[in-house]
Amino acid sequence: MKKENLNWEKRRKYITYAVVLLTVVYILQLFKLQIIDKDYKQWADSNAFLNRKIYPPRGVMYDRNEKLLVYNQPAYDVMVIFRETKPMDTLAFCRAVNLPIDKFRQKLADVKNQKLNPGYSSYTPQSFLTQLGNKEYGILQESIYKFPGFYIQNRTVREYNYPNAAHVLGYIAEVDKQNLADDNYYIRGDYIGKSGIEKQYESYLRGTKGVEVLLRDAHGRIKGKYENGIHDQDPIAGKDLTLSLDVDLQAYGEELMKNKLGSIIMIEPKTGEILCMVSSPTYDPSILVGGRQFSENFTELANDPYIPLLNRALNGSYPPGSTFKPLQALAFLEEDIIQPSTAYSCAHGFPPGNGHPACHSHPSPLTLVPAIGNSCNSYFCWGLKAMLENKKYGTIQNAMNKWRDLMVAQGYGRSLGIDLPGEKRGSIPNGEFYDKRYKRWNSFTVISIAIGQGEVEATPLQICNFAATVANRGYYIPPHIVRKIKDTPVDPFYTQPIYTGINAAHYETVANGMRWAVDGPGGTCRGADIPDIEVCGKTGTAENKGKSHSLFMAFAPKDDPKVAVSIIIENGGWGATYAVPIGRLMIEKYLNGAIAESSRWMEENMKNAVVLRNALPKK
């Protein structure tokens, strides 16, 4: 062995002392933690925290006249903490909440299913039933002590004062998997805006959830707030919205549109504010407030062949038909292709003799203003031909692209940026589009776009926005539905005018044409004439696979316009048949506040008219 043997004994002792010392130090620390420190002992008595979410009230919505449209009502959710459940009278529970026992079992299984409910833990409250009815709440509240592990959580649901504007307001529903993945603000059982304003303004409306940190004992009884609530966070209420919508006008529009498919949009040209936005068929928004009725009602709406969930005003794309002609006039004038005095002849169609597109009987030749008034197809076909064949553009492709630019400048073929989700762009073709479609093409190939047919499509919103642009003689404010968010400045995008770049004088000419259509000889929408109000309008009869759509756009009065409107009645035939009278009634209702006695017959006729194509069952 080694030298200095004495030393080894000492070293063995030192090592042993080190081990003993460490054990003593650790025992002392354990003594401090487990015996001396009272904090931990307190937590021993009340060993778990319950983080109870406090839901803020969702922002409410008013119409432009401060009428309350959407508000909140208390509702009750049933939560379950599996860890605390004990064998209980399941039947009594099912009776209290009016739930079949097999559904009860199914729901329990669903909550525990990690695939459906990734945040599942048997120690934390899980959403079991949402939106208990008042009656069920009353019964359950009294007997909840018999069902250990089940709790009632208060929250609020949407309540509606008017059965109108469902598409605009939108609905809220429980968050889905995608919502949960996209934004970690949400937990299972939360509500989120799914369409309309509820979706678009979700971040304003929802507010911020608060949390209450509670202490519970081993039996799950709440012992009060943890450290007197210093860890609590108060919820921040959602922001209230004031809409530009006039709910009375909206209700009136919806009544006129009953039993018809289509839409009505009205815009205040000076502000871009949407006064009403009707999409028909519609539904009562209060049937989609969640709870157990939600899925039934939603399924029914989703399976309806007339697609009531579709907001046709934004999401419908139609051939604009003759409402497209004023845009052509503006383009040709701006490009110096025609002058207001330019006259083209028409012999029941274009090209003369061939008759495609055809035209109705009217005096010939016509200058621009009466051509708009009489809605002469040939005039605008000649104009487009002159533009596309003009040498100054070099090629027809260049001419076509220039034309496209002028249409886009007027708000077509692109989304206008309305503050509602899902706006369609419509469609405006350009040179490349036709190059791809045809080996060779000339102005005759594409001529039908001059009269809003063929490859051209527009949304009712774009058509109404164009009417507002003419009303403003050359600019529009992006159309929007929310006028004011409480305590929040308005988005400058919705206050700045957007100019089309086309000379205001040309707009005056077009306005004259649209006025002629209402009160001039041979005008196509003489039915829109209202005594003492100078209405300017333009009809449209959009050909499509079925019966033509009936269109009308207008603004009034001619000088200092207060309102722009666009109407579309799907498969309504001539523009003058349905769209014009409905438009006229809407204008009269808005500007005069009431319908004159002399127009009552028209109102009755429109309300009672049924214009439904034979609905095809959805696949």
């Binding site: 062995m1 080694k2 030393n7 080894w8 070293r11 063995r12 030192y14 090592i15 042993t16 080190a18 081990v19 003993v20 460490l22 054990t23 130090v25 650790y26 025992i27 620390q29 354990l30 003594f31 933690l33 487990q34 015996i35 420190d37 904090d39 931990y40 002992k41 937590w43 021993a44 060993n47 778990a48 599996f82 860890r83 459940t85 833990s121 048997s122 120690y123 081993a218």
Partner: protein, 482 residues
């Protein structure tokens, strides 16, 4: 010497075997408790963690039994081969491992996943024991000391590359073994001083006392008694050491008095004193030509350099999460929601256990999933919560008994190889205890290593079983031959 084969069952140390059995079963029961849920499967169900741990325990017993059946000479002879094999395994792990929770320590062999680092401990212990037991190997010689370091630094470095800092640190336990085998206590003392200085500097580094940074000042002051202590150890009872201490004390006292009227950095005074002492020691070296004076001068200078570079190391070398864990353990930051979350929840769980605990399966803190890694690294939480102070102390005393028993067994070996191996086992278990329990009760930084025999995990349990049973086998044949 007479040669006789002893009966393994008669000569086996049944005390150690019994403690081993108690520990693995206690661990198994606590693993079940920490995963216990309302609709929990049975403790025997193999789809639960407790059920799997039962499998690990049964296989461990089989492994232990096999080890006891193998002739004890085998380990001595094959020590280096086993070591080489494990080193290859460690390298393979780095090359082929999959990243699991930021660590690259899992080697996947078909359906089996092993943590090779757990097997490096016994292999390294064998190699260290083998080398240090060579005839004429003397750890008091610098040359031999340097020769043995790579044996455990190599696996340590490889495990660091696997990002298993905790397991790598355990290999420092071999210094304790080397100390027993003749390494200068000066090295151990320096290591201890380094940790102490580091802790003081980080804890009080930002505190200003007049014009003096408190942390540095305390450390610099401590260097003087440290020098005196080492000097005292080398030359018993030399009178001048007393003058060092008295003189320094008077000077520091004066300096503090002056600082009451005139604010300045007291560190400079202490630095000056240290400079004077080192000058004296250098003079003594030149006069007597004894090497230990140089060692002490080096210690003093390195200590000063160390203390002035701690901040740099702490801020720029350590990774942010390591830094935060150290600060939480030292209490310089209190962040129960963030970095200190684990430790805070673990302390609440243990603290809420009280004297007798909440009773088996009644712990709520650990089960509310507040404590992460509750059945692996934080298993002691469950013991503390459900079995209280009494249960925790019982487990600690069990470990104390095991380690001291191992030291006792090691000391009774007649072969150096067996003794060194025995000390290695004791030191490794000691380090695990130090780091694991220290972390759980909030005294050491959070370093993820398992509690031997308790924590959930096949590799860990197998590793410790092999480590312990090889020694039991060696001990059982202690009388066979020398």
């Amino acid at each position: 010497m007479p040669y006789r084969k002893s009966n393994i069952w008669l000569s086996l140390d049944w005390w150690t075997a019994a403690i081993y059995l108690i520990m693995v079963i206690a661990g198994w029961i606590n693993i079940y408790a920490s995963g216990y849920d309302f609709d929990q499967v049975s403790i025997f169900n193999l789809s639960g963690r407790a059920g799997m741990q039962m499998v690990w325990i049964l296989t461990s017993l089989l492994i232990g039994f096999s080890i006891l059946m193998i002739d004890s000479d085998w380990y001595d002879i094959f020590a280096y081969w086993i070591y080489a094999l494990v080193i290859l395994l460690l390298i393979a792990t780095i090359l082929f491992s999959h990243d699991i929770r930021g660590s690259r320590s899992w080697l996947v062999l078909g359906p089996v996943r092993i943590q090779s680092a757990e097997f490096a401990k016994f292999a390294t212990a064998l190699a260290v024991a083998r080398l240090a037991s060579n005839y004429n190997f003397d750890l008091m010689r610098m040359r031999d000391f340097i020769k043995i370091l790579p044996i455990f630094f190599l696996p340590m470095a490889l495990i660091l590359l696997q990002k298993e800092t905790g397991t790598a640190l355990v290999f420092l336990a071999f210094f304790l073994v080397l100390y027993r085998e003749g390494m200068s206590g000066f090295i151990l003392f320096s290591g201890f001083c380094a940790v102490l200085f580091f802790v003081i500097e980080i804890r009080y580094g930002d505190v200003l006392w007049g014009g003096t940074p408190l942390g540095k000042w305390i450390v610099l002051l401590l260097i003087i008694p440290c020098i005196s202590f080492i000097l005292y150890d080398y030359e018993k009872g030399r009178q001048y050491i007393r003058y060092f201490l008295i003189g320094s004390g008077v000077l520091v006292g004066l300096a503090v008095l002056v600082s009451l009227f005139f604010i300045y950095d007291l560190c400079f005074v202490v630095l000056a004193i240290i400079a004077i002492i080192t000058a004296v020691l250098l003079f003594l070296f030149l006069k007597y030509r004894e090497k230990h004076y140089l060692y002490i001068v080096a210690f003093a200078l390195l200590s000063v350099v160390f203390i002035y570079s701690v901040d740099y190391v702490f801020d720029d070398v350590l990774e942010p999460h390591q830094k935060v864990r150290i600060e939480v353990a030292l209490g310089t930051i209190d962040d129960p929601g963030g970095a200190g979350y684990n430790v805070n929840q673990s302390k609440i769980a243990i603290g809420s256990g009280g004297l007798w605990g909440k009773g088996y399966l009644n712990g709520t803190q650990t089960k509310l999933k507040y404590v992460p890694e509750q059945d692996t690294d934080f298993i002691f939480c469950t013991v503390g919560e459900e079995h209280g102070f009494v249960g925790s102390v019982f487990i600690l005393l069990l470990f104390l008994f095991l380690i001291t028993r191992l030291i006792f067994l090691a000391e009774r070996q007649r072969s150096t190889f067996k003794r060194i191996y025995g000390y290695s086992v004791a030191a490794i278990i000691f380090f695990h205890l130090l780091i694991n329990i220290g972390m759980v009760i909030g005294l050491t930084p959070v370093i993820g290593i398992p509690l031997p025999f308790f924590s959930y995990g096949g590799s860990s349990l197998w590793g410790f079983t092999i480590l312990l049973f090889i020694f039991l086998r060696l001990d059982a044949s202690r009388n066979e031959r020398l």
